[in-house]
C-alpha cells in the first residue's frame, strides 16, 4: 500500500479514474507497464507531474503492439506530438480507448484516425491502399488492392465524394458487430 501513495496523489488517481475507463488498480498496473519500458527514464514519483516522454521505439516494442501492423499509427494517433513519443497520459489514453469499456463511438473515432494515414480527416484511396498493404502484408496484387479499395469506397461512401468521412465510417462501424471485440487490447 505504501508505494501506491508515493506514485500518485489521491487526487491524481481520482482524475485518472474520471478520465479513463480504468480502476485504481489498473492505472497502477499500467504505470508499472509504462515504467518497465524504461526504468531509468520514468521516475517512481509522479506527484509533481514530471515531463517524461518515452520514444516510439520503446512504445512500439511492447508485446501488445510489437507485431501489430498498425502500431506506428496507433502510437502516432495517441501521442501528443503526433510522432509516437508518449507520455504516461498518452499511454493511459491509448489503452483506455482500446479497453473493453470504451464506447463504440470513441473507438470508432480513434479507429478512423488510425486508418487515416495522411491525417486529412478523410480516409481516401491512398489511406485505404496503405491499410490494405499493412493488413495483408502485401499479399494482394496491385490490381486487387485497387479493386478492393474501389469497392470499399463504393460500399461505405454514402455521400459519393470519393472518400470516407468520419460519419461514413461510423455508419459502417455501427453495423459491424465484431468491431467492439476486435478493436480491443487486453492489458
Amino acid at each position: 500500500m505504501g508505494n501506491k501513495q508515493t506514485i500518485f496523489t489521491p487526487q491524481q488517481l481520482d482524475a485518472y479514474q474520471d478520465c479513463t475507463f480504468f480502476t485504481r488498480k489498473e492505472i497502477l498496473r499500467l504505470y508499472q507497464r509504462y515504467r518497465d519500458l524504461a526504468p531509468q527514464l520514468v521516475p517512481l514519483d509522479y506527484t509533481s507531474k514530471p515531463d517524461v516522454k518515452l520514444p516510439y521505439q520503446l512504445i512500439g516494442s511492447m508485446p501488445e503492439l510489437k507485431d501489430n501492423p498498425f502500431r506506428q499509427r496507433i502510437a502516432e494517433v495517441f501521442s501528443e506530438d503526433g510522432e509516437g513519443n508518449m507520455t504516461l497520459d498518452d499511454f493511459l489514453d491509448m489503452f483506455s480507448v482500446l479497453s473493453e469499456m470504451a464506447p463504440r463511438d470513441l473507438k470508432a473515432y480513434y479507429a478512423f484516425k488510425i486508418y487515416d494515414f495522411n491525417n486529412d480527416d478523410f480516409i481516401c484511396k491512398s489511406d485505404l491502399e496503405n491499410t490494405l498493404t499493412k493488413l495483408t502484408r502485401s499479399e494482394l496484387t496491385e490490381d486487387e488492392v485497387r479493386m478492393v479499395s474501389e469497392k470499399v469506397l463504393d460500399e461505405a461512401d454514402l455521400d459519393n465524394d470519393g472518400r470516407l468521412s468520419l460519419e461514413d465510417f461510423q455508419h459502417m462501424i455501427v453495423r459491424a458487430p465484431d468491431f467492439l471485440s476486435t478493436f480491443h487490447i487486453r492489458i
Binding site: D67, P69, D105, D120, V148, A176, L180
Partner: protein
C-alpha cells in the same frame, strides 16, 4: 487575375465530367487552390472577419437561414471545414441537379464550405472533435510552425488554410470559447453523466484532467457569470446555486469514492485475466469467446452456489448432528455420489423438515405446529420454506440475469440494416488487435487476404448461376446428410429410452429379490451404465455429424456452423428430454417399485453421475482427440497441421453440463459446487491442451454473433427446460414421505401454504397474504394467466413504441430531404444575389470580398 483563370478551369472540369465522383476530388482541388490564393491575396479581410462576435448557440446552426449571413459565424472557419456532402446529397446538387449554375462565386463557396454538414463529426460530440482537432493542430503548429501551405493537406476548400494567417491570439480566444462551451456542457449534466461524457471524449488525458479541474473548481462561478452575461433570463434561477452545488459536489465525491472502491473490488474478481490474454493473443477473439463463456457459466454457478450454500447447506450443517455414515469410503462414491454421500448435506434427503432454532436443537416433527413459537430462542429457521424460496429465488434471479444479458447482446450484435458493406467491414473491422503472437499475426493477415480475395471474386461474379444438375446434386446431398443425422439422433434417443427402461426394470428386479450375496460395489457400478452410454453418445455422435457435414455443400461457413450447432443441439435436447421422462415419469412416479426411501436423492445422484461422467468424457476427449491425435498426425503422418479447436461443439458441451446442474440443484443443493470444480478444471485443462495441441481455426468466426447465439441457447432450451422440470417437480409431483424437507406434504408448494396459514393464525392482518398466495402460487392457472397477461402487455407496449419510433424516423427522413431541397434553393438564390452584385467578371473577386466584409 489568377483567380479567374482558375475559375474557368474549374468550370471546364465540371462541364466535362460531372457525374464521376472521383473527379470531384479534382474539382475540390481547384476549389482549395482558389481559396488559398484568395486567402493570400486578402489577408486583411479575413482578420476583420475573425473579430466578429461569436454566436454560441449550437442548436441554431442547422438553421437554413444563416446561409445569407456568413459573417456571423466566424467560428465555423475553425471547423476543419471541408464541404462534406450529406447522405441525402443536398449540398452537391449544385453540380448535379443544376448544371446551369455550375459556376459559384467564391463567396458562395465560402459559405458552402462553412456549412455545418460539411465539417467533421457532426454526430455526438461534434464540438468535441472539432476542439480536439483544433488543439492538436495548434499544438503541432506551436512546435514546428510550418508554412501555411502545409495545412492544406486536404484538397477540399479547407478553411484551415485561413488558420495560417490567423494570429495566435485569435486561436487562443477561440480555444477558450470552445472550452467554455464544453465546460458548460459538462456542467449541465448529472455527476455520473459527466464522468461518462468526460471519459467518452476523444481528448487526451491531460486535457480531460484540465477540464475536470476547471469544472470542479472554477467552472461553477465561471458558468454562472457566463450565464448571467449571455442568458440574463435564466440568471435568477441560479442565484443560490454555489452553496447547493458545493453540497452536491461533496456528496458526489463521497459517492464516487465508494463507487470506485466497489469497482476495484469487482476488478480484483476479474478472473483469469492473464490466461485470457494469452489465449486471445494467440488464437484471437473466436477461441476467446469459448473461455469467456466458460467464465460466465462459472459466475452463474458461483451465484447459485452462494445462494444455496448460504441459505440451505450452511443452516443445515450448523444445526444438525454430525455425519453418521454407515459404510466406509470405497472411492466409487466419487463417481456415483452414493455411499457416504447419500446421507450428507449434498442431497435432498438429508435436509430436515423442522424449523431450526437458535437454542433448541431438537427437531419438531411438524413445522406448522404453533407451539414452536414458544421456544425461548428468538431466531428460527423454517427449513422447508427456506428450501422452497431459495430455489425459487435462485431461478428467478438467474432468469433475470440471463434475459438482461441476452437483451444487451442482441442490441450490440444484431443491428438489422439492409445495405451491405461487407468488404468495408472486412477491411476496417476484421483485424484483431488482441492478437500478439507473431505466427498468429501472420496467419491472421493470410486469412484476411484470402477472405478479401474470395469476397472480391464473389462481388466480381455476382451470383454465378449454378447449373441445375449440380444444384440438384447438392440439395440431394444435403437431404441425405440431414436424414442421416436425424436418423442417427432418433436411433440414439430410442436406444437411450430402451436402455433406461431396461436399467429401470433391472433395478426393480434387484429391489424385489434382494440378493445378499451380491457385492454392493457391483450394484453401485451398474448405476453408472446409463451415464456412460449417454456420455459416449454425446462424444461420438458430434464426430459423426462433422464427418457428414464435410461431404455436404453449404453456401457460407457461418451456415455450416449453424447447421452443426442445430444438429448437436437437437441431439442433446432430445436425450435430455428422454432422461427427464425417465427421472420424473418413471422413478418419481413410482418410487415404491424400486424400494427407494427417497427418490429425490436418487435422482440427485443420477444427475451427479451424469455431470461427473460428462467431465470424465471431456477429459478423455481432450486427451485422445487433441493430444494423441496431434502426436499421431505429426509424428506418424508427418503433417504440419494440428487439430483445430471446435468452438461450437465445446460450447454446446458446456451448455449441456450447465443444464444438468440447473436441473439438479433442487435435488442436490451442492451440485453447483461440483459444477464449479468441473469448470475450473476444464478451464485449465482446455487452456493447456489448446496451447499444446491446437492451431488457430481457419474459418472466419463472427465472435459477437456467436456469443449472442450461445447465450440464447443457454437461456432457451437449457435454462427454460431446467426451470420447467424444477417447476413441474415442485408443483405436481409428490415428494417422498420419509425424507427431505417436504416430507408429509402432497406437493412441495404446500410448504408455502402452511407457512401462510400459520402467519394468518398469529396475525390476522396478514389475511390478504394467504389470499394472494392461494390465487397466485397455488392456483397455477391463475398465476400463469397473470404472468402471460403482463408479458403480453409489456410486449404490446414495446411494439407500439417501436412502431412510433419508426414513424418518426420516416418523418425525419422526409424532413431531411425537404431541408436538402431548401438548401439547394437557398444556395441558388444566394448565387443569384452574388451574380447581381457583381457587375463585371474582372471585379468578381473584389466584389465578393467586399460582400463578405459587409455582413
Amino acid at each position: 487575375m489568377a483567380q479567374s483563370v482558375n475559375f474557368d478551369q474549374f468550370a471546364d472540369h465540371l462541364e466535362e465530367d460531372m457525374e464521376s465522383p472521383v473527379d470531384e476530388a479534382a474539382v475540390h482541388d481547384s476549389f482549395s487552390h482558389l481559396i488559398e490564393e484568395q486567402a493570400l491575396g486578402f489577408p486583411g479581410d479575413f482578420d476583420a472577419l475573425q473579430m466578429d462576435p461569436l454566436d454560441l448557440d449550437d442548436e441554431a446552426r442547422d438553421d437554413v437561414g444563416y446561409l445569407g449571413y456568413p459573417g456571423q459565424r466566424p467560428e465555423e472557419r475553425y471547423q476543419q471545414g471541408h464541404p462534406h456532402v450529406d447522405q441525402r446529397g443536398h449540398p452537391h446538387v449544385e453540380q448535379r441537379g443544376h448544371p446551369h449554375v455550375d459556376q459559384w462565386s467564391s463567396a458562395t463557396l465560402r459559405i458552402l464550405s462553412s456549412m455545418p454538414s460539411r465539417t467533421i463529426g457532426r454526430s455526438r460530440g461534434a464540438i468535441i472533435s472539432q476542439y480536439y482537432n483544433r488543439t492538436m493542430q495548434l499544438r503541432r503548429r506551436k512546435q514546428s510552425r510550418p508554412s501555411i501551405r502545409d495545412f492544406s493537406r486536404s484538397s477540399r476548400p479547407s478553411i484551415r488554410g485561413y488558420g495560417g494567417v490567423d494570429s495566435d491570439l485569435g486561436d487562443f480566444t477561440e480555444e477558450e470559447t470552445k472550452r467554455e462551451r464544453l465546460v458548460n456542457n459538462l456542467q449541465n449534466l448529472s455527476a455520473s453523466d459527466r464522468v461518462r461524457m468526460l471519459r467518452a471524449m476523444p481528448l487526451s488525458v491531460s486535457e480531460k484532467t484540465e477540464f475536470r479541474c476547471s469544472r470542479s473548481i472554477l467552472a461553477v462561478e465561471d458558468v454562472i457569470r457566463w450565464q448571467e452575461t449571455f442568458r440574463p433570463e435564466r440568471s435568477y434561477s441560479r442565484s443560490n446555486l454555489p452553496c447547493c452545488s458545493q453540497c452536491k459536489d461533496s456528496l458526489i465525491i463521497v459517492a464516487r469514492q465508494t463507487w470506485y472502491s466497489c469497482l476495484s473490488l469487482l476488478s480484483s474478481l476479474q478472473l483469469w485475466h492473464t490466461a485470457l490474454k494469452t489465449v486471445s493473443g494467440r488464437f484471437g477473439t473466436g477461441v476467446l469467446s469459448y473461455f469467456v463463456f466458460l467464465r460466465t457459466l462459472l459466475f452463474f454457478n458461483i451465484f447459485l452456489f452462494s445462494v444455496t450454500g448460504l441459505f440451505l447447506v450452511l443452516p443445515q450443517a450448523v444445526f444438525s448432528s454430525g455425519l453418521n455414515s454407515t459404510t466406509g469410503p470405497s472411492g466409487l462414491e466419487l463417481l456415483t455420489g452414493g455411499g457416504c454421500f447419500t446421507e450428507s448435506v449434498m442431497f435432498y434427503g438429508y435436509y430436515t423438515n423442522a424449523t431450526l432454532k437458535e437454542h433448541c436443537v431438537q427437531k419438531e416433527p411438524n413445522s406448522s405446529t404453533v407451539h414452536q413459537m414458544g421456544c425461548h430462542g428468538r431466531l428460527y429457521y423454517n427449513m422447508p420454506l427456506a428450501y422452497f424460496f431459495t430455489i425459487g429465488a435462485a431461478f428467478l434471479f438467474t432468469c433475470i440475469i440471463l434475459v438482461y444479458t441476452m437483451k444487451k447482446l442482441f442490441g450490440q450484435s444484431f443491428r438489422i440494416d439492409k445495405s451491405q458493406s461487407i468488404l468495408a467491414m472486412k477491411v476496417f473491422c476484421s483485424w484483431d488487435f488482441k492478437v500478439m503472437k507473431k505466427t498468429s499475426v501472420k496467419l491472421q493477415s493470410e486469412n484476411i487476404s484470402t477472405q478479401l480475395k474470395e469476397l472480391l471474386a464473389e462481388v466480381g461474379r455476382k451470383k454465378e448461376k449454378v447449373p441445375i444438375p449440380q444444384k440438384l446434386a447438392w440439395i440431394s446431398m444435403n437431404v441425405l446428410g440431414w436424414s442421416l443425422c436425424l436418423g442417427s439422433t432418433l436411433a440414439c434417443v430410442v436406444a437411450v429410452h430402451y436402455f433406461s427402461e431396461y436399467m429401470h426394470k433391472d433395478l426393480q428386479l434387484r429391489a424385489r429379490n434382494s440378493n445378499p450375496s451380491e457385492s454392493p460395489l457391483v450394484k453401485e457400478a451398474s448405476l453408472l451404465a446409463l451415464p456412460v452410454v449417454v456420455s459416449s453418445i454425446n462424444l461420438l455422435l458430434p464426430g459423426f455429424f462433422n464427418t457428414v457435414a464435410s461431404v455436404e455443400k453449404y453456401d457460407s461457413p457461418s451456415m455450416r456452423t449453424y447447421v452443426a450447432i442445430s444438429r448437436n443441439l437437437m441431439l442433446k435436447v432430445s436425450v435430455l428430454g428422454i432422461l427427464c421422462f425417465h427421472w420424473l415419469g418413471r422413478i418419481a412416479a413410482d418410487p415404491q417399485s424400486l424400494k427407494l426411501k427417497c427418490w429425490e436423492t436418487f435422482v440427485g445422484q443420477e444427475l451427479y453421475r451424469f455431470l461427473v461422467m460428462d467431465f470424465i468424457f471431456t477429459i478423455l476427449d481432450t486427451f485422445f482427440g487433441e493430444f494423441l491425435w496431434r502426436l499421431f498426425s505429426q509424428k506418424l503422418l508427418r503433417r504440419k497441421r494440428k487439430p483445430v479447436f471446435d468452438i461450437a461443439r465445446n460450447v454446446l458441451e458446456l451448455i449441456y453440463g450447465q443444464t444438468l446442474a440447473w436441473m439438479g440443484v433442487l435435488f442436490t443443493p451442492l451440485l453447483p459446487a461440483v459444477q464449479i470444480l468441473k469448470l475450473l478444471c476444464l478451464f485449465y485443462m482446455k487452456k493447456t491442451s489448446l496451447m499444446m495441441n491446437c492451431q488457430v481455426p481457419r474459418k472466419p468466426w463472427h465472435a459477437s454473433h456467436m456469443t449472442t447465439v450461445f447465450i440464447t441457447l443457454l437461456c432457451f432450451p437449457s435454462f427454460l427446460g431446467a426451470a420447467v422440470c424444477v417447476t413441474l417437480t415442485m408443483w405436481s409431483i409428490k415428494p417422498s414421505q420419509s425424507c427431505g424437507p417436504f416430507r408429509g406434504l402432497q406437493t412441495m408448494i404446500q410448504s408455502g401454504k402452511h407457512w401462510v396459514k400459520q402467519l394468518e393464525s398469529t396475525n390476522s392482518n396478514l389475511a390478504w397474504l394467504s389470499w394472494v398466495h392461494t390465487y397466485l402460487v397455488e392456483n397455477p392457472v391463475v398465476f400463469i394467466f397473470f404472468m402471460v397477461m403482463i408479458f403480453v402487455i409489456v410486449i404490446y407496449f414495446h411494439t407500439q413504441v417501436v412502431d412510433g419510433q419508426r414513424k418518426i424516423i420516416t418523418l425525419l427522413q422526409d424532413q431531411i430531404e425537404n431541408e436538402g431541397e431548401d438548401k439547394k434553393f437557398l444556395i441558388t438564390r444566394l448565387q443569384a444575389i452574388h451574380e447581381q452584385n457583381r457587375p463585371s467578371s474582372s471585379q468578381r473577386i473584389r466584389g465578393t470580398s467586399e460582400d463578405s466584409s459587409d455582413y
